[in-house]
């Protein structure tokens, strides 16, 4: 829907994925309706459209967990409010351990969940098998069941947020790309687009994997990089039943989701594949990437052993699409360094289903306030965000969030030394 742009807006949100639409919705709910959302293609066309839509409650910190819990509540009520079905289902989730160390980690997660007020239960292999009957429980040490976790349809949920925003007066303009900014001191004054200018006081960069290049127009270095993300979707499987909990097997890098009678199997593999570090084209809408069977094969082979029904299942889709990540998996939220009035919020869409709601909490008296520093990846030093090669290399060597909960929670407060020296080194050589 392309409409004429207004000459001014109190807030301009750039990006019409789950994050941008959620910010628009929440601003409107807070009574800030003079909001313009600009999307260069169509809503969800970047990465939201292919997200798995997993909604997890337990996050690495108490604040993130509070936000994630709020998200759960929101998604549950959105359909009633907007009339747009979201596909939200409270399926619960199970993470299982294939070794004693992982089991300890899951038990620790249960403690953290308790501290954060999230219901959870440690379960054994028999119970896991009850939820996932086809599963081969060989070597299973047990798991953690979080009943409040959920799944949602990313496209429909984004639509619902957009409807809710529009109902409250937000203008959403699609098919228009932002081309530049004008600033006065630390303040953005004008957003320039292909079809004209919009005067504004607040800008939200919610452009996902485009955010890095967009922020560069403001001389801001945003440490964000897209990586290839793989999943498969099978043909219908009789062994699956609607509402099965999401299953995560971090020791095999995999997550399993029942999706309309089919199985979606995705992975956070140990070595990521960065995609297009030079930038992402404006026209990359609903884009996919070539499959890479060799890269996905270890995951698939382990999954076929772990879940034998997969062996005879036809595979409907080999999917590969980009997702954007920050080097430390934290999302970037808060006023941009050296700017007064811009908010940056480029997060991995993959993770965004737990987090798109954050801004509501932080909008006070016409500006963004009190963003918890450990939510905000803005703490990343200039050293790490300085060059594309640093961010890209860091992304490869960092373990994925699913595989390495330990690092996310800081339970083990260090990383292995990467193969390449990418950080700012100690000054004594």
């Amino acid at each position: 829907m392309t409409t004429a742009l207004p000459s001014s807006a109190q807030v301009v949100i750039i990006g019409g994925g789950i994050v941008g639409c959620s910010i628009a919705y929440h601003l409107a709910r807070l009574g800030v309706s003079d909001v313009l959302l600009i999307e260069q293609n169509q809503l969800t066309a970047g990465t939201t459209w292919h997200a798995a839509g997993l909604v997890a409650q337990l996050r690495a910190t108490r604040n993130l967990t509070q936000l994630a819990k709020y998200t759960t509540d929101l998604f549950a009520s959105l359909e009633q409010e907007t009339g747009q079905a979201t596909g939200y289902r409270q399926t619960g989730s199970i993470s299982v351990a294939l070794n004693a160390q992982r089991m300890t980690e899951l038990k620790r997660q249960a403690g953290t969940a308790r501290a954060f007020g999230v219901a959870s239960e440690i379960i054994d292999a028999t119970e896991i098998k009850r939820y996932w009957p086809g599963l081969d429980t060989t070597g299973l040490h047990g798991g953690i069941y979080i009943p409040g976790d959920a799944q949602t349809n990313p496209v429909d949920t984004t639509r619902a947020l957009a409807i809710g925003a529009r109902q409250r007066g937000v203008q959403i303009s699609e098919g228009i790309a932002v081309t530049g900014f004008r600033t006065s001191g630390r303040t953005v004054t004008v957003v320039e687009t292909e079809v004209g200018e919009v005067a504004t006081k607040q800008v939200v960069l919610a452009a996902g994997m485009w955010t890095r290049q967009l922020a560069a127009l403001l001389d801001l270095q945003v440490p964000l990089q897209a990586a290839e993300h793989f999943y498969i979707v099978t043909e219908a499987l009789v062994d699956l039943t609607p509402g099965m909990p999401t299953l995560r097997i971090p020791d095999e890098w995999a997550y399993y989701k029942e999706d309309a009678g089919k199985l979606l199997l995705g992975a956070f593999e140990p070595r990521a594949k960065p995609w297009s570090p030079e930038g992402v084209s404006r026209d990359f809408a609903f884009g996919t990437l070539p499959e890479d069977i060799d890269h996905f094969a270890p995951v698939l082979e382990a999954a076929a052993r772990r879940y034998p029904p997969l062996q005879s299942a036809g595979i409907q889709t080999f999917f590969n699409g980009p997702e954007s990540f920050t080097p430390d998996d934290r999302y970037l939220l808060g006023p941009a360094p050296s700017m007064d009035t811009s908010l940056l919020l480029p997060v991995s869409t993959l993770l965004a289903f737990n987090r798109p709601v954050a801004p509501a909490k932080y909008w006070q008296n016409g500006s963004w306030q009190g963003v918890h520093p450990w939510i905000s990846g803005m703490s990343i030093s200039g050293a790490l965000s300085a060059s594309r090669q640093i961010v890209t290399t860091w992304l490869i060597v960092r373990k994925s969030p699913l595989v390495c909960f330990t690092r996310c929670t800081g339970l083990i407060g260090s990383t292995k030394r990467p193969e390449e020296r990418v950080a700012a080194h100690c000054m004594i050589r």
Partner: protein, 384 residues
Amino acid sequence: MIRAGAVMGELAGWERPNWFVQPGVAPEYDYSYGPQNWFDCCRAECDAIANRAALFDQSSYPVYMVEGNEALVCLNQISANNIDVAPGSIVYTQWLNEGGGIEADVTITRLSEDQFMVVSSCACEGRDYDWLQQHAGSHQVSVQNVTSGMMMIGLMGPQSRDLLAVLTHDDVSSQALPYYHSKEIELGYARVRANRLSYVGELGYELYMPTEFAAHVYERIIDHGSDIQLSHAGFHAMNVCRIEKGYRHFGHDISDETTPQAAGLGFAVDMDKPAFNGRDALLGIEQPLSERLVNFVLQTDDTVMIYHDEPVFCGDQMVGMTTSATYGFRLNRAVGIASISHADGVTKDWLQNQAFEIEVAGERFPISVSLGPFYDPKSLRIKS
């Protein structure tokens, strides 16, 4: 550092020595939920810190120079503590937001009437610099981030002064350079700023020098350090020691939602100052506090690994959670900091009359809690 046996880790883009291998130990992590493979090495580092001296590469510490006619006015408005001290003095302070929450946790050294050196922590480089710039606003003040140009070597331990005295002709006696004071000294070819303070709870110095002199100063220290069996030490040891001493860490224990009072940092707030950011909010805080940070040690010598976000119980009631913890090699106990809530007030009396437990991976462990630190509670060691 790597030649000296450093095993590196990463923080906020910096690659830093986390621990140093002892002979016969493989220089790599073997991750575990039990005692870590680097424990023995870290224990040796802590032993050096407590009994001799150890050297830390702290080049990742952000340093900002704040200068100008209104530098004092500006910093005193931002800081909860009083920065109007004699040149050569150091002030530990928090920067607060309007709600009284801690936005930054820094030390400020007054170099001269209108020159100040602000030192923050590694992960906060960007945000603290931004906070400074924002609040410098219309003041006649220049704010520079000189982190890359300024190297810092930490020299920590009871023999650090003896070592320093060998390295310089300048007087570094306790009279000439008391606790929380700073002076420029000559060290080899370099002029070095020696700040006498410590994040590990021992007599110690932070030595600042231009980066081009770093290698030289380092070599001088190492050359003379063998006399006292100077050790290298990494950030695991630093974290262990700071937790034993109850020193708060921004991002773990304190954040923009924690007031200095709730953090147990009220001593660093000067309410006699007529105005500073966050003062009004602090005036409105009701006593006794219903939530605040406390220090704890495990009552048994189990090497159970506690990190943060483990629930804390008082009987059947969950009353809080840990904010940071470690195994303490000087105390020989698991030790940490926890945030505790109690509607009627988290007071010393109340704490003393309750039994607390921590839950780790489903198991409960009894702990002792205290408002003061368990290691050197009277701070005799840092002031010696």
